[in-house]
């Protein structure tokens, strides 16, 4: 089979997976109360909305002041309030509730709702960020309120992607050589070292390690370099300790973009909006604008978080690399290569190493969901800007359902995409896959 055919077939196979994933999300979404579903899709209704929210019914007076007993309200019944038990009030269906339920299709049978949800998911209609959410009120990013979730995610995704790419590079750069070395030097010190690394990586949670590093680096850097230093890329001065620990600057001392509340602290080109932000990737944008210090700055900020991510992931990967390498080293063709006098280095790298790469990539693909699932924690430990940080902010009250479901969909689609890449890589590395 040709490579192109294989890729096309593989792409067709993801359709059922995507539908299945959205179905699961749909099942969870429908078990939310209807008001929350409406909130998640349309955002918080404005002040002018009757009753001020998505209540199924509200007082007649709220909808139509001064006309409690008026026929224009068309109240079906007069209800006695159980709380006060004295003042009777008229209750009407909330017109906003009714119309939005109808618009979202929540009054239709479940299969129709399911189809609608899948359509919405595939067309990126993922709802609206609540303007009540924690990140809007406390996170200092008021600009994301009442904006479609997809838009906000598209602003923040490049940050997460940069972190993911950097940590993937670190992971591969550590896991493959170390795993190979520990298989070749079995039961020698290198092997023991990699075992210890693997064990401890499993046993130390990322939030703990990350926090220790934040505190430790702060304590180390503080007395040596002082509280604040002026750097060429930050004329206003920012705490140098935050360079390594708090990845995006806090407070009003931002040197790098992320506080639209304080635009005077930005590099001039960042305030010009989308046009000056061609890719959205902070490092790339800085490079495009010739702001090399800024690019370096944004990379430096990602190093420690990427190392923490890599530590946990490498732990899972190492033993697979080691075992697959051990198996490959016992195969006949390796013995043949040795017998015909190929130097040992070449045997390990060219003959055995390349074939054990298959397993590494497969395992990486399988654990990608774990890898991605760790980002919210890492990003909130290091105050990195990214989708994970958004998610971390949206689970604290007030819970932002649109953001939670949106970022879940996004991460799931990312994992599916990564699995395709892994499969294609696998087919590229191992021709038996696409032939057989």
């Amino acid at each position: 089979m040709r490579m192109a055919t294989y890729i096309v077939r593989r792409l067709l196979l993801i359709l059922p997976v995507l539908i299945g994933v959205t179905t699961i999300t749909f099942l969870l979404f429908t078990s939310l109360p209807v008001s929350y579903q409406l909130l998640a899709h349309f955002g918080v209704p404005g002040q002018k909305a009757p009753c001020g929210g998505y209540f199924p019914s509200c007082d007649c007076e709220e909808i139509n002041p001064h006309s409690v007993s008026n026929t224009t309200c068309q109240c079906p019944a007069t209800v006695t309030s159980p709380a006060t038990n004295t003042t009777p009030y008229a209750s009407c269906p909330n017109p906003l509730y009714v119309s939005d339920v109808h618009q979202l299709g929540l009054d239709k049978p479940i299969p129709v709702q399911w189809a609608t949800y899948i359509y919405n998911s595939f067309t990126f209609q993922w709802g609206t960020v609540s303007n009540n959410s924690y990140i809007v009120n406390h996170g200092g990013v008021a600009f994301i309120a009442d904006v479609p979730v997809v838009t906000v995610l598209s602003w923040f995704l490049p940050y997460t992607l940069e972190l993911a790419i950097l940590s993937l590079i670190i992971i591969l750069a550590i896991a493959i050589p170390l795993g190979n070395a520990s298989a070749v030097n079995r039961n020698r010190p290198v092997d023991q070292l990699s075992r210890v690394m693997s064990f401890s990586g499993y046993a130390i949670p990322a939030f703990l390690l990350g926090s220790f590093l934040v505190v430790g680096l702060t304590l180390i850097l503080l007395p040596t370099v002082g509280l604040t230093s002026h750097q060429p890329w930050c004329p206003g001065g920012e705490p140098l300790t935050q360079e390594f620990t708090y990845s995006w600057p806090q407070g009003g001392k931002a040197c790098y973009p992320h506080q639209l509340l304080f635009p005077e602290n930005y590099p001039h080109w960042l305030t010009y909006g989308v046009i000056s932000h061609p890719t959205g990737f902070p490092t790339v944008d800085a490079m495009i604008h010739g702001d090399y210090w800024l690019a370096l700055d944004s990379i430096i900020r990602m190093i420690v978080p990427a190392l923490v991510i890599a530590y946990g992931t490498v732990a899972g990967l190492l033993r697979f690399v080691r075992n697959s390498m051990l198996e490959v080293m016992n195969l006949d063709y390796v013995r043949t290569a040795r017998a015909k006098g190929v130097p040992e280095k070449a045997v390990i790298r060219r003959h055995a190493g390349r074939n054990s790469l298959n397993v590494t990539i497969t395992v990486l693909g399988l654990t990608f969901a774990f890898f991605v699932g760790g980002f919210p924690v890492i990003e909130s430990v290091f105050h990195l800007w990214g989708v994970g940080e958004l998610l971390a902010y949206s689970v604290v009250p007030n819970i932002d359902f649109a953001m939670i479901f949106g970022s879940t969909l996004l991460f799931t689609f990312l994992v599916v995409g990564a699995n395709i890449i892994v499969d294609v890589l696998y087919a590229f590395l191992d021709p038996r896959v696409r032939i057989g």
């Binding site: 059922p16 997976v17 299945g20 994933v21 179905t23 699961i24 999300t25 969870l28 979404f29 078990s31 939310l32 109360p33 929350y36 039961n187 064990f199 401890s200 499993y202 046993a203 130390i204 949670p205 990322a206 939030f207 703990l208 926090s211 934040v214 505190v215 702060t218 304590l219 503080l222 007395p223 509280l227 075992n323 051990l326 198996e327 399988l366 969901a369 774990f370 991605v372 699932g373 760790g374 919210p376 924690v377 909130s380 430990v381 998610l391 971390a392 689970v395 604290v396 009250p397 819970i399 359902f401 939670i404 479901f405 970022s407 879940t408 991460f411 799931t412 994992v415 599916v416 699995n419």
Partner: protein
């Protein structure tokens, strides 16, 4: 006579041949026993299990400051005037009377329901910060000291950054962690075993459908899925059967984890079953007319469960880490309000959060002592648990997989 005697003499005692599965277990134990590290892991696990059993007799700790007793006092609230005695019995069910230690604000602690609670963290301008009522400000070292662990150590209500009883939380954490980990991974492994065995054994359309479902679940990030499940359960007004709202959330936490956990086992078991079902003894069983169910559950499944044991023991150690991650994201007091949740990962996460708050309020050069023990001991418990489980799993693999035997 003598001949007769010889005949009557008992035949030399033949050792009865053990059941093959028992023999294999004995063999496994033999190899396992020679692995010192694995034995250490087993010993630590047994210790933890013993602690868990003892912990069951102990009361649950108050793990987070009960807000209803203290929310409206202290300089954290700009509208409050300190001191403000508070009599309980409000809408949230605090029916007891809370009193405060009669002393100036820096050393104040709150006495409530028989225990000491949080001390105010702020004094005056927020520069000189003491964190525990019984550590006098004179021994807050500067600039970067770690606080001396107070006498009585973990056994007292420290009233530090976070107001929970470290010792008691750690103690109850033993059984909570074990219960959570084992139940989550156990459910996952059981479901995965069934699905994987059926998929591998029957093949064809059943296999295809089941494996597509597995693919779907495998592509959902673990923590995110659990977040969604717990949030949905928390917002829905339904409760499950006899459970109250909080227990429903805890239950959904388990269910959420188990839902993302089973596909790994399904894949593992399926791969193993595909190998085992081609073996001669399966063919023999089929030839002798055994039913499909009997072949599957008496012949194939028992011979393909060993990888599950290894994976099981590995996964049990990661659950507290993941729960800690969840709590770190904000699932502690917010989603489980007023409830002690003394799971080791959760304790560590809450400690980290509170430590960050503490350091944020603490301007280091002016000096503040870091209550390191609140972070160290939960972290140690977590680490010991995960690493012992890891060592055990490694030993099991070495003992069960002849190819890897040294």
């Amino acid at each position: 006579m003598s001949v007769q005697g010889e005949v009557a003499a008992p035949a030399p005692k033949r050792r009865r041949k053990a059941h093959p599965r028992l023999a294999q277990m004995a063999r496994t134990w033999y190899f396992f026993r020679r692995n010192t590290l694995a034995l250490v892991g087993l010993a630590v696990l047994v210790l933890i299990a013993g602690t868990a059993v003892y912990a069951l007799t102990q009361p649950l700790p108050w793990y987070k400051m009960p807000v209803y007793c203290a929310s409206d006092w202290g300089p954290g609230n700009p509208n409050s005037t300190w001191p403000k005695p508070y009599a309980g019995n409000n809408a949230l069910g605090c029916s007891h009377v809370c009193t405060y230690e009669v002393s100036p604000p820096p050393n104040a602690a709150q006495y409530c329901d028989g225990q000491w609670y949080k001390t105010p963290l702020y004094t005056g301008g927020g520069i000189n910060i003491t964190f525990a009522s019984f550590i006098p400000p004179t021994i807050t070292l500067s600039p970067f000291s770690v606080g001396p662990m107070p006498l009585g150590g973990l056994t007292t209500q420290l009233g530090g950054v976070n107001a929970y009883d470290t010792y008691r939380s750690l103690l109850r954490g033993a059984d909570w962690s074990l219960a959570f980990s084992v139940s989550i991974v156990g459910i996952g492994a059981l479901v995965g075993l069934l699905v994987g065995a059926v998929a591998g054994f029957f093949g064809g359309v059943i296999d295809d459908v089941l494996m597509r479902i597995v693919d779907v679940f495998l592509s959902i990030p673990v923590i995110l899925f659990v977040v969604v499940v717990v949030v949905v359960a928390g917002s829905a007004v339904v409760t499950l059967g006899p459970l109250d709202a909080i227990s429903t959330r805890l239950f959904m936490l388990i269910v959420g984890f188990a839902l993302v956990w089973w596909p790994f086992y399904a894949r593992l078991v399926r791969g193993q079953v595909l190998v085992v079902r081609e073996q001669k003894y399966v063919e023999a069983a089929r030839a002798s007319g055994a039913s499909k169910g009997r072949i599957l559950f008496r012949h194939i499944v028992p011979n393909s469960v060993y990888p599950i044991f290894i994976q099981f023991s590995l996964d049990v150690g990661t659950i507290p880490l993941l729960i800690g991650g969840l709590v770190f994201l904000g699932f502690g007091p917010e989603l489980f309000p007023f409830v002690p949740f003394p799971e080791w990962g959760s304790i560590a996460a809450v400690s980290v959060i509170d430590m960050q708050e503490f350091l944020g309020q603490c301007f280091l050069p002016s000096g503040c002592a870091i209550p390191w023990w609140q972070l160290f001991f939960p972290g140690l418990a977590l680490f010991m648990f995960a690493i012992s489980v890891n060592l055990l799993s490694d030993g099991l693999r070495d003992a069960l997989d002849p190819r890897l035997r040294r």
